[in-house]
């Protein structure tokens, strides 16, 4: 029996225009459709595959405002068994250290967690450090950037892939934390049956006080960093054009070498 906790986050739909609020430069959640982050769908999928291959229970854990219940329901309709939702006004604008502390405390509320699965980074903040920080706080081995994951008995094995280091094969004893990349799998769609079943699944809701955390330790005013200003990405420059006068291939190769791409 493997008890798996999947960390999920509600993010603005990447199909819609994403922006920060004028006042405090935090995410403008009202301006865009909110969805379960796609990387988290993959994390849920991976957890469900482990559960379906043997025995287990999948709990999704979400820190986010009340409307994040939509993202939680999506994960439950895919097949997760239950959910924990930490929702508290005080959390608005929390940095990733505070967020990780809240997540770690919420995981601490659950019985016998064998495996924590997270996405390697969220598509909104893109800090990419929450999984590692949570693992440190919980004292769990961290196996990050996994593009393959297997649980065998009481060990977990992953293939870790990062941009420049090739593939590393990691192994750890459970309990452990794994973060997955977008190459890990293709997530399933929920079914309407799953949508109906999701309604009846238990969702436990906590405030930060319930987790034994002081509201003065979280939120924008207590964050270690704050966004001072934001400006849209400059428009893309036109690419470099290579005319093929018989030397085109060489010129392209030279360009790629110059960019350290080959």
């Amino acid at each position: 029996m493997t008890n798996i906790v999947v960390l999920v986050k509600q993010v603005p739909d990447t199909y819609s225009e994403r922006k920060l609020t004028e006042t405090d430069h935090t995410l403008d959640r009202e301006s865009a459709d909110a969805v379960l982050d796609e990387i988290n769908e993959r994390a849920v999928e991976e957890a469900l595959k482990i559960k379906e291959a043997g025995e287990g229970e999948v709990t999704v854990l979400c820190v986010g405002p009340d409307r994040a219940t939509d993202a939680i329901r999506k994960a439950l309709s895919m097949g997760a068994d239950k959910a924990v939702h930490v929702s508290d006004e005080a959390l608005h604008g929390s940095d990733l250290v505070a967020t990780s502390r809240v997540i770690a405390a919420a995981i601490g509320k659950l019985d016998s967690v064998d495996l924590v699965i997270a996405g390697n980074e969220a598509s909104d903040g893109r800090g990419g450090a929450v999984p590692a920080v949570v693992a440190e706080l919980l004292g769990l081995p961290q196996l990050t950037h996994a593009h393959h994951l297997a649980v065998e008995g009481s060990t977990v094995k992953v293939d870790r892939e990062t941009a420049d280091e090739g593939i590393t094969h990691l192994e750890a004893n459970l309990p452990a934390l794994v973060s997955v990349t977008e190459k890990i799998n293709e997530p399933r769609y929920p079914s309407f049956k799953g949508i109906m079943a999701a309604k009846k699944k238990p969702v436990e809701t906590y405030t930060v006080a319930d987790l034994g955390i002081d509201a003065g330790e979280v939120g924008l005013t207590n964050a270690w960093s704050a966004v001072q200003s934001a400006s849209p990405k400059p428009p893309r420059q036109a690419g470099e054009r290579v005319e093929d006068d018989g030397e085109g291939g060489t010129k392209i190769a030279e360009y790629l070498v110059g960019q350290k791409l080959v």
């Binding site: 199909y15 329901r73 309709s77 769609y189 929920p190 309407f192 949508i195 109906m196 999701a198």
Partner: protein
């Protein structure tokens, strides 16, 4: 811009979100390519089935979604807005389950309905014949009893999914007596003596197969008779009343897609130094298109709500089909106008939408037949 909907509950919201996600990620990206290649989207129907979208308005007991028509039709509209052929296929499949779901015996439903509602089996509906189109009661495909079987001979025409479906909800003649001699058979596609003619070469919806079905001494088990002998025409017309709502919803989806494309183009296309959406000639056109889309949607939803409450809805379904399909023809034609020369090319999807909008004015009862249905009720008072 996705359609703004008022839905009765969170399950309905999640269902629409699911339909939208599948539409956006699995259907829209490949629709143009499949249409051009005349390729039937069987895999896409399998996904819809797996997701529970092919049996939405039927009882949960046999694997259906048990959702009201008001909700089913809006999910259907979302699918059709990404790909009309798949939307119409979903509507036809749903209609093909109607006879068994409402007129079958308990035993028949237990046996076949779960595989139909789960989309394991893809359905088709066979009523028309070469010489019996609007005058459906003139059909001549004959089913003669022979022991435990009917021996069926004749030709069915304009069958959506003809040659691709796994079963055909088929109206046959068991008695020469006009409209009272028609019966409904649930025919397995693998029946000996049943074959599909080469698909029709159509103006649009080219990924959806339409073909004649030829019955040549086809032997169909008598246990596949749905309802009593002689009740076929009633079953057929009953199925069509609900099916028309499906076609109305598909047409609204198609018109919405055309409107979205036209607005996107008019916003970025500049002439005389101004985005063309700022010219009154264009903005009024777009406003009329939006009015047509939203009023058509309101019209089919009103009919659906009557059906869901058990009220008579035949007239309203005919009005919805008439209004929504005529609107879709106009909206898609105007979308081509907004895109100008670009709209007339295959670089943009609106010319395809315009071709696809034509046939809903014709099938599941031509719009002239809808007017007859509406007028008949007016005459009755």
């Amino acid at each position: 811009m996705p359609a703004e909907r008022t839905l009765p509950n969170t399950e309905a919201e999640d269902l629409i979100a699911l339909a939208r996600e599948i539409a956006r990620e699995e259907l829209a990206p490949v629709a143009g390519e499949f249409e051009q290649a005349h390729r039937f989207p069987r895999e896409q129907f399998r996904l819809l089935g797996k997701s529970g979208l092919l049996g939405l308005p039927y009882p949960e007991r046999w694997g259906g979604g048990d959702v009201p028509y008001e909700v089913y039709l809006q999910a259907l509209e979302e699918i059709a807005s990404a790909w009309m052929s798949v939307g119409v296929g979903m509507s036809v499949h749903t209609m093909s389950c109607f006879a068994l779901a409402y007129y079958g015996t308990e035993q028949q439903r237990d046996r076949w309905l779960p595989d139909m509602l789960s989309g394991q089996l893809l359905g088709a509906y066979a009523l028309s014949e070469p010489h019996a189109g609007s005058d459906a009661a003139a059909l001549t495909t004959r089913a003669e009893p022979d022991g435990e079987h009917y021996v069926v001979n004749g030709t069915k025409a304009w069958i959506t999914h003809g040659g691709e479906a796994d079963y055909y909800t088929t109206m046959v003649r068991t008695d020469p007596d006009g409209s009272k001699g028609i019966s409904c058979l649930l025919v397995d596609a693998g029946t000996d003596g049943l074959s599909a003619a080469p698909p029709e070469q159509k103006m649009g919806m080219t990924a959806s197969t339409t073909a004649q079905l030829v019955f040549s001494d086809a032997r169909v088990e008598r246990e596949r008779l749905i309802g009593d002998e002689g009740s076929g025409l009633r079953i057929a017309l009953d199925s069509l009343a609900s099916g028309r709502l499906g076609i109305a919803a598909c047409s609204v989806g198609l018109a919405q897609a055309a409107l979205d494309e036209a607005v996107a183009y008019a916003t970025q296309r500049t002439q005389f130094g101004t985005p063309i959406i700022d010219f009154q000639g264009i903005e009024f056109l777009l406003a009329d298109m939006a009015a047509a889309v939203e009023s058509s949607r309101a019209t089919y939803l009103e009919a659906a709500r009557r059906k869901d409450r058990g009220l008579p809805f035949g007239r309203q379904a005919s009005i919805a089909k008439l209004v929504a399909t005529d609107s879709a023809m106009k909206v898609t034609t105007d979308a081509v106008q907004v895109l100008g020369g670009a709209g007339y090319t295959r670089d943009f999807p609106v010319e395809r939408y315009m071709r696809e909008a034509k046939v809903p004015q014709i099938f599941e009862g031509t719009n002239q037949i809808q007017r007859m249905v509406i007028a008949r009720e007016l005459r009755r008072g």
